[in-house]
């Protein structure tokens, strides 16, 4: 059954162009099975154009897997992913970009990393150089332009990964826990880049398990638990009044152990 929470408008932001009728991206009852184990069950969500959607949940809930399925890096075992109402194809995939939890940077300079990404999109010459310089400036990385990308700090590497993705002018940006293992200053810098992109109309789908980040960035929220959508809807609503026990446990920083399990002591055979 479709999670209609995403059809509830949270109010258009300044400078945002929204199309409330047609979701930009839809997961229609998608499931994913690997080695006989079903890892994702009947996920049915729609991502509104220009929105900031957070996919949250505990470790192993299937957040990163869902992101890969939405981006077309993996094919669902059941259901389908639609881009503007049509099947997700290579052209649609090129309108998207993804930033991984551990930034994947080429063994080249910062500038060359940017150059590669833009070359793949067919940009050449002065136009490409100008775009690279302006993108690096927007992330405060201009002074590192000639440095090997892999000697940058973790925060700088992730900022580079984000601006590299944004330089390709995606309509939708996927971010898979982009601030995991980063210090607060680096986290703030990444969130600033995400907010700027969102203000320019880029649709954001971000995986996180950081409650604070969910509060700061979330407009829409999908809560995953054991491969199921436990709850979805406007982020503020779920964060203030979660309806499901897994979401409540996550918000309160507790481990959700199951429907009839309050603590580790409740497990059969537990000696705690």
């Amino acid at each position: 059954m479709r999670d209609f929470a995403f059809d509830m408008a949270t109010g258009p932001s300044v400078g945002r162009q929204r199309d409330e009728q047609q979701p930009l991206l839809e997961a229609c009852n998608i499931g994913f099975t690997a080695r006989g184990e079903q890892l994702l069950h009947n996920v049915d969500i729609a991502i509104r154009q220009g929105s900031r959607t957070l996919i949250v949940g505990p470790n192993g809930a299937g957040k990163s897997l869902l992101l890969r399925l939405l981006h077309g890096l993996l094919q669902p075992s059941d259901g389908k992913v639609l881009w503007q109402g049509n099947a997700l194809n290579a052209k649609a995939q090129r309108a998207q970009a993804m930033v991984f939890q551990r930034p994947v940077l080429l063994r080249r300079s910062v500038f060359a990393n940017m150059k590669f990404a833009l070359s793949v999109r067919g940009l050449r010459g002065q136009k490409r150089s100008d775009k690279i310089l302006s993108a690096l400036a927007s992330a405060g990385l201009s002074h590192l332009s000639n440095r090997p990308a892999r000697v940058l700090s973790g925060g700088e590497q992730q900022r580079l990964a984000v601006v590299r993705a944004l330089a390709c002018d995606p309509e939708l940006l996927f971010l898979d826990e982009p601030t995991a293992n980063l210090d607060p200053a680096s986290t703030a810098a990444i969130e600033e880049l995400v907010r700027d992109a969102s203000a320019r109309g880029v649709t954001i789908v971000l995986v996180t398990h950081d409650v604070g980040q969910a509060r700061r960035l979330g407009e829409d929220l999908v809560f995953l638990q054991d491969g199921h959508v436990a709850e979805s809807g406007p982020a503020q609503k779920i964060l203030t009044e979660p309806q499901s026990e897994p979401a409540r446990a996550w918000r309160e920083g507790r481990i959700y152990l199951g429907p009839n399990t309050q603590s580790l002591c409740d497990f059969p055979g537990s000696k705690l």
Partner: protein, 235 residues
């Protein structure tokens, strides 16, 4: 024992005096080996990279074959190339037997599987790291292949070095197809074998010293380059 020291002293004398015969042999050896390694890299790098990057029917079989061919017995290669190039062979009309070209072909046949198999391993490791990012960016197959080869360039230098080491030390195959003809196809390894059998230890040892020095210098250069690359996070 004194003959050993005499031979060693005499060999250094030949090297220091830049003996013309010695220089000719070294020159031909380097020309044959470097050409063979270059051609082997031209074939082996893209072949290995394709095997390490793309999924296609027979990929596993190709990897098994490449790995198996790394241990090709040189004399068997020599015999195979000899049969190909001999007057009654399919390439006989080209009249390449007992020429440096025949030696290049033999060395190339020996070195190509080594370059391809090691390249496959290197590129496969890089690809496992880059695959999702490339798929996300929509990188095409050719760009992907070239990028993996470029980013793996320092590791692939070591691969080329392994090929060079095998080629420069080759005796069996080149003696069969080259014939060890003086001033035509005589290279360092075949000369060492011949001169030792003749008892001319000075020239044999001089060539041995040069061969070892070349191997040492090339290894040192590549290792230095690779260490620099690792420090700069390019490798």
């Amino acid at each position: 024992m004194s003959s050993f020291w005499d031979a060693l002293a005499g060999s250094f004398g030949l090297v220091i005096a830049l003996d013309p015969d010695l220089m000719e042999i070294i020159g031909l050896s380097m020309r044959v080996t470097l050409t063979a390694v270059f051609l082997a890299c031209l074939i082996g790098l893209p072949l290995g990279a394709a095997a390490g990057t793309f999924r296609f029917p027979g990929r596993t079989l190709l990897s098994v074959v490449l790995n198996a061919l790394m241990g090709l017995p040189p004399v068997v290669v020599g015999l195979f190339v000899y049969l190909l190039l001999s007057a009654s062979g399919p390439l006989g009309p080209l009249r390449l037997l007992y020429t440096p070209t025949a030696m290049i072909i033999a060395q190339m046949v020996i070195v190509t599987p080594i370059v391809a198999a090691l390249t496959r391993q290197v590129v496969e490791d890089f690809n496992s790291e880059y695959a999702e990012q490339f798929a996300s960016m929509g990188v095409g197959p050719l760009d992907r292949l070239m990028s993996l080869l470029w980013d793996g360039r320092y590791s692939l230098l070591t691969v080329a070095l392994a090929g060079f080491g095998r080629a420069v030390a080759e005796v069996g195959a080149v003696i069969i197809v080259g014939g060890n003809i003086n001033h035509v196809t005589r290279v360092m390894t075949t000369t060492i074998a011949l001169e030792t059998s003749k008892g001319n230890l000075q020239l044999a040892m001089a060539l041995g010293i040069v061969l070892l020095t070349i191997a040492f210098v090339v290894n040192a250069c590549v290792m230095g380059l690779r260490a620099t690359a690792v420090r700069s996070a390019y490798a």
